[in-house]
Amino acid sequence: MTALQSFRTGDTPLPDIVILTHKLARDYDMGGEVVRALRGVSLQIRKNEYVAVMGPSGSGKSTLMNLVGCLDTPTAGEYWLNGQKVSDLSDDALARIRNKEIGFVFQTFNLLPRATALHNVELPLIYAGLPARERREHAARALTSVGLGDRMDHRPNELSGGQRQRVAIARALVNAPSILLADEPTGNLDSATSAELMQVFGDLHRQGQTIVMVTHEHDIAAHAARVVTLRDGVIATDQLQAA
């Protein structure tokens, strides 16, 4: 992977690079005091890679994830997604990228509490502009594929943690995004459910899905093929590991 780190400002990423960040930085203004959460992260991820991002709390891994997921905007640096420079796109264009290119799975699931599982999975399709019937079919298929075909009309509070996370995964994948991002996906799950979830991720990876996952648990990171470790807002290590 180190061979790819020759990217310079003004270059265009190679075609099979899905994610490329160049000296990506993010500062937060915490009441007058500037916290430098990311201090220049340069990272390239190829299509169908399975990457775990590790690091102690405060190392900037979640910040990196939010920037890669277009949920946050960088203070400095470049971010390219599928050969498109994202870091200077308009608000609407970013919304479109979040909708089509990115599937995000949060630690806290972030489901709409008053909506059914089906409606939650439908949301990205609504914003993609699909007609109602098609939407429902797609969403139902996505839920069935994560084993929740019989829970479609349940609200989040009627589902277990593992089921909620699977609804979130169905929602993340329903628009067939180019990358699946997961921020501590097992953070709120017991170990049995975590193992099941890793099974799902493994299957998705084998089907060709590009996955980036933030975790601080080594046994979860062990499922990934590549582990990037962050420390104090910079990349400390970047290693391939045997699956």
Partner: protein, 412 residues
């Protein structure tokens, strides 16, 4: 996202968040109701003053010859005392003026007092007693509902006959037709010959508690000293003729009173214009206070609505974050909240219109305030009440929609 989609989404949310939706709608509802109600009072007062009050007191193309103006506002004590020293208007004055008028007019004179009227043991107190000549009914536009008014002969002869006001007739004769019966006014019997049509009330005071008897009948003793009248009423056919009649009246009165050219009139001629002037002065105060009150109510109502909506949106910043993280654009969020706020405002405003109208009808029926709903107030109520509801719902949402999704997600 299609607009229909936004509406569908809004309706889903409204159904899911029933309590909050109800409160938001109530905010708009109260605003609209109050606005229509308050406006109808001001509007009713205004119409009342211009259309009814002046006409009721004086009449169109009509003037009253009196010792001093009847309807006054802010008169100084010294002026008032000077008025009290003026000589009274006499039967002879009234007759002379009537004979001296060359323009076609209808005239009547009357004296007014208060007293009680009795029938068969029942006593009606605080009744206006009028001693008048026969044309009084025409001039004052008192239509006879039952029986008849008195004739010129009865007027001249001072026959003890009487015409009753509607409320008084109802009170003394709840079951029987009063015509033909005899009532006692201060002990003396008068035969009832007619009942006047219902006049309604003026600012809460019934206009139907009166009796009218011939000026020359014994009722004169109860209302004025012998030979004295309160006013001579002159009704002309047109405004210029009324002016001419006023000039002639002034000339006759000045010569009868032996006033020298430099002396002021020691009598007064009052027209409906004069009464309207009085009302204009009074209504200036009302108009300063009325819209002020409505304004305060609006501000308070607006703040209430705004707060409810702000709370609702603040709680939903996280939802906005989730939607944005899934690809909602700012305008998608705005549409959703706009549709929601509009739906709630529509419900609230519709209920507010119905209740506002009902409220002013109730006010009119149960209180002396002459409330009258104006279409303008409905439009204003909907625009202001609904507008505040929509702005309050959309503005905070638009601010939340501008945040980066992660910033919205972090807010709790």
């Amino acid at each position: 996202m299609h607009f229909l989609e936004a509406i569908r989404l809004a309706l889903q949310t409204i159904r899911a968040q029933k309590l909050k939706s109800v409160f938001s709608a109530i905010g708009v509802f109260i605003g609209v109701t109050f606005l229509i109600g308050a406006w109808s009072i001001v509007n009713g007062m205004n119409r009342y003053m211009t259309e009814k009050f002046a006409g009721t007191l004086v009449g169109v193309n009509t003037f009253h010859l009196r010792r001093s103006p009847n309807v006054t506002f802010d008169v100084e004590d010294s002026v008032w005392r000077a008025w009290r020293r003026r000589p009274r208007i006499k039967f002879a004055d009234a007759t002379a003026v009537t004979l001296g008028l060359t323009v076609p007019t209808v005239t009547a004179w009357y004296s007014e007092g208060r007293g009680s009227v009795e029938y068969n043991g029942k006593v009606a107190k605080d009744i206006t007693l009028e001693g008048a000549t026969e044309r009084y009914f025409d001039i004052m536009n008192l239509k006879i509902a039952d029986g008849r008014a008195f004739t010129p002969q009865e007027s001249k002869a001072g026959t003890t006959v009487v015409v009753l006001g509607y409320d008084l007739a109802q009170k003394l004769f709840p079951d029987v037709n009063p015509v033909g019966h005899s009532v006692r006014i201060h002990g003396l019997p008068y035969r009832v010959i007619g009942v006047v049509e219902r006049q309604g009330n003026l600012l809460g005071i019934s206009l139907d508690k009166f009796v009218v008897a011939p000026a020359l009948s014994p009722i004169q003793r109860d209302v004025n000293p012998p030979g004295v009248v309160d006013a001579l009423i002159v009704k002309a056919n047109s405004e210029p003729e009324m002016r001419e009649a006023m000039d002639q009246t002034e000339a006759v009165m000045r010569s009868r009173r032996h006033l020298r050219p430099r002396q002021d009139d020691n009598f007064a001629m009052e027209t409906s214009e004069g009464v309207l002037d009085f009302w204009k002065k009074l209504s200036r105060i009302l108009y300063a206070v009325g819209p002020g009150l409505v304004g305060i109510a609006l501000v308070v109502g607006g703040i209430v609505i705004m707060n409810i909506m702000l709370m609702a949106v603040a709680e939903r910043t996280r939802e906005i974050g989730i939607r944005k993280s899934l690809g909602a654009r700012r305008r998608d969020i705005l549409r959703q909240f706009l549709a929601e706020a509009t739906a709630l405002a529509t419900v609230g405003a519709s209920l507010g219109i119905v209740t506002g109208i009902a409220l002013s009808m109730l006010l009119q029926a149960l209180s002396p305030l002459p409330a009258s709903v104006s279409p303008f107030s409905i439009v204003l109520g909907v625009v202001v009440g609904g507008g505040v509801g929509i702005v309050a719902g959309v503005y905070p949402a638009s601010r939340a929609a501008r945040l980066d999704p992660i910033a919205a997600l972090r807010q709790e």
